[in-house]
Amino acid sequence: MPTKGRRVYLRAISTEDYDWLYQLEASPERLPWYRHAGVSPPPERFADSLWAGVIAQFAIASRATDTPIGVVAAYRYDARNGHARLAGVLRPDFERRGWPLEGFSLFLDYVFETFPIRKLYGEVAAPNAEAFRSSFGSTCVQEGTLKGHQYMMGSYVDTHVVAIWRETWLQRASQRRERIARRSSVSP
């Protein structure tokens, strides 16, 4: 399965990545919204927290520059019921630019083709959901809303619980492959 997209690729995280990952996850801008829920992780224990409950985790890197631009992970795998949680974060200068999202797509391909996971859950603060609201109702199913769940930019905002179902994702990937194959048979 491809772990390389057109502008990004997924690569293993090494101990050399811990510094930028710590700066990213423990920064005042990211700390409240990502895995540590606002509580600063001690640097000497950061590696443990980075891998706690994780079944797959990769750095997303730019193909043009080899620069790591973010991290994506599946964790809290429930093998009995076939679901896990999805988490990911981009460095601030790569947010809302469109192309880094391809890294999440590659990761979903990897997870659904590697593990017998029926669905992946994610939580997203309502203001942050704007970047991919078009996927709500198609790729992502909004399964619930935690009202006033997070303090953000001066007020308590809702948190959406979204799910990506295996069948939906694989069907979407298959449709895309068919579309590309159709076009390849048409001369440009």
Binding site: R97, W99, F132, R183
Partner: protein
């Protein structure tokens, strides 16, 4: 091929009213980051080109996407 792309772009955007080629994708159409990525991927598939990452910061309209894709495709064709 431009018309074929516009049809596909409109299908990706799925808006009730027809999106015009010079509509600002974010300001007028309300496209989100994922839709912009899908629009570029569709153009890449159709025109057999790859948009550089920095170009994403510059594109505003479907015409921007088509113009860049056509020019890049012509360059590759020599």
């Amino acid at each position: 091929m431009t018309e074929e792309y516009l049809q596909e772009a409109r299908a990706i955007l799925g808006r009730a009213t027809e999106v015009r080629i010079d509509d600002a994708l974010i300001a007028d159409v309300g496209a989100d980051s994922l839709e912009v990525l899908e629009l570029v991927l569709a153009a890449e598939d159709l025109f057999h080109v790859v948009f550089p990452e920095e170009y994403f910061d510059e594109l505003r309209t479907l015409r921007d996407i088509v113009d860049w894709a056509v020019a890049a495709s012509d360059r590759e064709a020599g």
